[in-house]
Point group: C2
Chain length 402, copies 2
């Protein structure tokens, strides 16, 4: 059983449409355990610990917490700060000063590394501290979990978005038959792959899906677009921001200026422009672009109800296992085998998750490298929480010419 003391919870990395559900899950569960005294919300992630900026979450009203379940982005504020080895003693010092015995970090693989290290430092110093990671990422790239809270909602948004923009493109006919949509995902194609959920029939858009896992040449992309355009009269492609050319080079070998964040991650962009330029040069056609950007991870109106529930559940589960004595673990989502979609929470060692990236497996990418397989559709479909709006299509029975 866990010690009596205070709880600290924080949010890290890119926000999602449902990340506040995990926060509310932690708060709601914490309120049910006598071991937990104060519920501290760290403002802007780890920075909130370093600066002792903590919000008293017990004083938030039940109405606020309920509405927060429908409010996108990280209500506590988030951060992109790479914790250094020098920071851990300071973190532990603050935790000791506040008698913190429970620590929950809602984030991606960098945050899981931080959580793991805090757990290890506390153990080394013989300070009882229960550290549990709460998964979150629209990239869906955390190891050891079937999927990540935040992904289903972003997937629902991009599927709806590409279906809508594809109808617009189809309607334009020869006036604007090519559309490229740029989708988030630096190294993993889970989100761009989810655009395939827009399809109701096999030939429906998106006609082409380009993922970071499968490098392509500009020549291949142009040929793909040409073939689709000739067959359908229009072409809609979903392009991950992380698509590269062969051997990890930038697609088309353009040396666009690259920014690097605190974790050494490159800030990508421009892949879609490069492709559009190449299409114009080769096919003489203008490809229009949509770059929904941060809407992908914040569009609460399109949040997946399943995702919302799961995000809440992983928050609650984290507190439950911590109070039972666990530490150094991340809550996972597991899918039960059999008919229908049934999920439950599980646990994995943080060391198996920290700093790892789970990419799309080969069996989810089609042989040609420009689409997903039925196995992926089966995997992803339940996560968006029900069908998209039902749209109609005119039968267009022709009148005879005169």
């Amino acid at each position: 059983m866990g010690a009596k003391g205070n709880l600290v919870v924080g949010q890290s990395g890119g926000p999602t449409a449902v990340i506040n559900n995990s926060l509310v899950g932690v708060i709601h569960e914490a309120m049910e355990h006598a071991e937990i005294e104060g519920i501290y919300g760290m403002l802007h992630g780890i920075a909130g610990i370093m600066n002792q900026e903590f919000a008293d979450l017990r004083r938030e009203s039940p109405e606020t917490l309920e509405l927060l379940r429908y409010t996108p982005a990280s209500a506590l504020g988030t951060v992109r700060y790479k914790v250094t080895d020098d920071d851990y003693p300071r973190i532990l010092q603050v935790f000791k000063a506040h008698n913190v015995r429970y620590f929950f970090y809602i984030g991606g693989n960098d945050s899981m590394d931080t959580t793991n290290k805090i757990s290890q430092v506390a153990e080394r110093e013989g300070y009882e501290l229960h550290c549990i990671g709460v998964p979150k990422t629209v990239d869906n790239d955390l190891a050891m979990t079937d999927h990540c809270p935040g992904y289903g909602s972003a997937a629902r948004f991009v599927a709806a978005a590409i279906r809508n923009t594809a109808l617009d493109t189809e309607a334009m006919g020869d006036s604007g038959p090519l559309k490229l949509m740029e989708i988030m995902g630096r190294h993993a194609g889970w989100l761009v792959a989810a655009t395939a959920l827009a399809r109701q029939a096999d030939d429906d858009p998106p006609h082409l899906i380009y993922l970071p896992e499968h490098p392509v040449t500009l020549e291949k992309v142009i040929e793909d677009v040409r073939v689709v355009y000739e067959r359908h009269g229009f072409c809609v492609a979903a392009v991950s921001e992380g698509v590269t050319g062969p051997e990890g080079k930038a697609i088309g070998d353009t040396a666009a200026p690259v920014e690097v964040d605190a974790f050494g991650h490159k800030a990508l962009g421009g892949v879609v422009d490069t492709i559009a330029d190449a299409i114009r040069e080769s096919l003489g056609l203008r490809a229009r672009m949509d770059k929904p950007g941060y809407l992908q991870r914040s569009f609460a109106e399109l949040a997946s109800p399943v995702d919302r529930e799961e995000a809440y559940a992983v928050g609650r589960a984290a507190v439950r296992v911590a109070v039972k004595g666990e530490t150094g673990k991340m809550v996972t989502l597991a899918r039960q085998p059999g008919q229908g979609y049934v999920w439950e929470t599980g646990l994995a060692p943080l060391s198996e998750v920290a700093n790892k990236e789970r990419k799309m497996p080969r069996e989810y990418i089609d042989d040609d490298g420009n689409d997903v397989t039925p196995a992926f559709i089966e995997y992803a479909r339940p996560l968006i929480g029900g069908p998209l709006l039902t749209y109609a299509r005119l039968a267009k029975h022709p009148y005879p010419q005169r």
Copy 2:
């Protein structure tokens, strides 16, 4: 009273989330009038007449028509083709061959010009033809009408979008405090102005709104951003794709490659990139960008219920007045004075609408040129059809430091 004969209806220009409502309105109303025999849908606008590509809309099922009211983009296909004087005789020839006596064109100011000219040519030749324009444009720039069907839904989308991305930006804190969203609207700022509907309190984002009606210098924008950032710790700006520098020059005087469509309209873009580059250079901060592009006019999930009803009503009204004998008119939307939002349809001469652009009046733009006025909010608020989702904000009562 109108002659007995066939009806032709078409859609033109950029699609909207509710343009199919106007089509269904025309079909539903036409079915109630004995004067109207065949209901012809022209495929891809005026091209459908030239090529005699007509769909028999009487054969569409009631279920299809009902679902079409919730389906975005132009179900008949649209076109951007500038009708020339040489085309009108051919159009009239086709109409005569098919005994077409009613013509309805759902579109923007170019389409109103086309409709007007077809009406004039028929009149000159003594051929009875009732031509009525049905307004449609997310740009909201048609003259003689209080607002345009399609605008309310696009307005609802951009308001929701900027609110969501603003929450994301605020949550990022110092890790990404600047956001620019690029909004459609070549010459009129109605849509970018609608992002102001995201606000619940005065200080809420968007903090800055830049419209085509008010030229700005890069220096002014950078200073605006700096002031907002210093006050709030983050800054969210809505930027029209049509924003220019003084004297109609491109902002920042960059000579970006410009494409011109069949109407001589420039294909814009790049304004936001120019601003982002300037901010980076001057303030040393990276501004993140969202470019939702064609989602703004196709996102049916965010369609305004009011807009949907109005789009349907203008379609029905067009047929009603045509059957009564009108021609050369456009259906308008009029707002009744007094408490609450009450609308009705009206009529305006096509000659007063054709090829005209209604820009934002001065009293809707604030003195500093970077925001809208309360008068605009009062004008636009009812059009988005009800409030956005209710979001919560943590009170964040601080814990004392130790």
